[in-house]
């Protein structure tokens, strides 16, 4: 990058020449941060205050809206559902995908390529279009209105991407690793979980991060599979709020803030891994 730094000119005029560029970047930064700032400060305002005082800080940092959203609008319950579904789908996806990727990337089976291709084709498949048949299947299996159903569907959708990532990381590990362990009498299950998997921690974190984001954010499958309020996840509940509590703006803003909090925390902790993961593969969504 520094290859492009213009070396001859004095510092001041160099900085001046860059001013328009910095302005463009600053404008978009504002375009991203201002709506989020409004979201945050509005959480602490009453509806009347939101109208009176658009951009300023709230009169008091009262938590009424959060409390109301959590209890009266029952978002706390949806939050728990989302946590369970996301956590279970991430664990299930990682375990079964790592298991599948291990022989596909490290054994000589003769049918590795075909099987890998079958998994990889799923990365691009538009699964939403299968939702009618998926609905019938879930009904026949008794999985409508259940978190288990959501967990299985999300894992199924995320498996192709996870197998792809795990296989890519496992393929490049030296073959002496498992051979030596096999000589020592270790079983294949132990080789996978105690030797190979710890070596591909970056793959585990990529899969965990992107599966968690995708599952936490998804709205389509709860919309078609969940009817009972007890099993609704956060995005589904939010979509209902926006219509229902239209006059109570503070409450809606607070529920938006609550629902993005886990992702925000994760993003602050893992921004670098996320940036690198996306830049390298573009493998989101």
């Amino acid at each position: 990058m520094s290859a492009l730094a213009i070396s001859g000119r004095p510092a001041l005029s160099r900085q001046l020449a860059r001013l328009p560029g910095w302005t463009v970047l600053a404008v978009w930064t504002a375009a991203v941060l201002l709506p989020l700032y409004i979201l945050v400060v509005s959480c602490f305002k009453t509806t009347a205050e939101i109208y009176d005082n658009r951009l300023g800080l709230p009169r008091s940092w009262a938590l009424d809206n959060f409390v109301n959203a959590w209890t009266r609008a029952n978002l706390g319950h949806n939050f728990l559902n989302s946590l369970i579904v996301t956590g279970a789908a991430v664990v299930l996806t990682i375990v079964v995908s790592a298991m599948a990727a291990y022989p596909l990337s490290r054994y000589r089976l003769g049918w590795n390529a075909v099987m890998l291709g079958l998994f990889l084709s799923g990365i691009m498949l538009p699964i939403r279009l299968a939702s009618v048949e998926l609905f019938t299947l879930m009904r026949n299996l008794g999985l409508l209105d259940s978190l288990t159903g959501l967990i299985l569907v999300y894992s199924a959708i995320r498996i192709p991407f996870a197998v792809f990532i795990f296989a890519n990381f496992m393929r490049v590990l030296p073959s002496e690793l498992d051979e030596a362990a096999r000589m020592d009498g270790a079983g294949e299950v132990r080789i996978l979980f105690q030797i190979i998997l710890p070596m591909v921690k970056p793959a585990v974190s990529i899969v965990a991060i992107f599966t968690a984001i995708a599952v936490w954010n998804d709205f389509f499958f709860p919309l078609i599979f969940i009817f009972d309020d007890r099993y609704k996840t956060v995005p589904l509940a939010i979509s209902v709020f926006v219509g229902q509590f239209r006059t109570d703006w503070g409450l809606v803003f607070a529920s938006l803030a609550i629902s993005m909090a886990p992702i925000l925390i994760m993003y602050c902790l893992l921004a670098r891994q996320i940036r690198e993961g996306v830049g390298a593969g573009g493998g989101m969504k």
Partner: protein
């Protein structure tokens, strides 16, 4: 001889272990992805009564899709998805290139700007749509700001106006995903050797010239990835429309997309009475599947051919 027997016994163990290892993932994936998808494609050639397949129908579902009363919805949605795609290509992937280039020319702040720009992309489209619906609503903060700046007077109705609603949703989607092109282009630019830019600068090329004549041709793989991803995302567009405009694609179907139309046909909100038409829904699904797979393959080939090797 013993080594031979040992390798062949190892081979047999590996074949057996491989099956056991692959089975759980394959079972879940096949049952919840491959099977329903195959059944949906197959079912689009049948007459349906409710959720029951009745008899073989040939292509009649497909021909019904293109004529009254479905034709108007289909062509409308097809047009909206196409406009959405080109809008995203111009606003998101075009302006994103400018941002990535500006970041590339600077040694400071890249990580900060990338993190800020990408942040909306980790949020649910439901949250993004709900947030912008509140901000853009009549009486919302955008109306207040535009009125205050003297750029607009009275109530802001961009989401309720059928001429502006689609454009607004495309802009919200671009806001949502702007960080993606910035990250992918920056990663692409970093792979280009600095010597190429040095040489161009010695030849007197300016920044704009370097971007369009040197960087852009070498960014073809990045542009290909982005075009394909944008194409797939656009033609699957559902969440933002649902949250901001309802499943009918209000006002008066002006933001209707292929997936919202599919949803109404399949799960019953099409027409005032909300009757489902599974045959029509599956035919639309099959058509969309073909559009997506053929489109994706063509794009991958197109960009593959234009990739410059150095």
């Amino acid at each position: 001889m013993t080594t031979l027997r040992r390798t062949s016994s190892l081979k047999r163990t590996q074949q057996r272990m491989a099956v056991l290892f692959i089975l759980p993932a394959l079972a879940v994936y096949a049952l919840f992805v491959l099977y329903p998808l195959a059944m949906s494609l197959w079912g689009s050639f049948f007459v349906w009564k409710g959720l029951r397949m009745v008899e073989f129908a040939g292509l009649s579902n497909f021909s019904r899709l293109f004529v009254f009363p479905s034709g108007a919805r289909l062509y409308g949605a097809l047009w909206h998805n196409t406009a959405w795609f080109f809008g995203i290509m111009a606003f998101q992937n075009g302006i994103g290139l400018l941002f990535a280039w500006l970041l590339f020319l600077r040694d400071k702040g890249t990580a900060f700007f990338q993190s800020v720009f990408f942040f909306p992309a980790v949020l649910s489209p439901v949250i993004v749509g709900a947030l912008w619906r509140l901000l853009l609503a009549p009486g919302g903060v955008v109306e207040w700001a535009l009125n205050g700046l003297g750029l607009h007077q009275g109530s802001l109705t961009v989401l309720g106006n059928s001429h502006t609603a689609l454009g607004m949703l495309i802009a919200v989607d671009a806001w949502n995903w702007m960080g993606l092109p910035v990250l992918i282009y920056t990663a692409g630019l970093r792979q280009i050797s600095g010597q190429i830019f040095e040489a161009a600068k010695l030849d007197g090329a300016g920044n704009a010239r370097m971007l369009f004549s040197i960087a852009l041709p070498l960014l073809m793989p990045a542009l290909g990835t982005l075009t394909t991803l944008s194409f797939i995302n656009t033609f699957n567009q559902f969440d933002i429309v649902y949250v901001m405009q309802g499943v009918q694609g209000n006002p008066s179907y002006s933001t209707d997309t292929l997936v919202t139309y599919f949803y109404r046909l399949a799960f019953g909100a099409e027409g005032a009475v909300g009757i489902t038409d599974i045959g029509l829904a599956l035919a639309l699904g099959t058509m969309l599947f073909l559009i997506l797979s053929l489109g994706t393959l063509m794009m991958l080939r197109f960009f593959d051919r234009r990739t410059v090797q150095l």
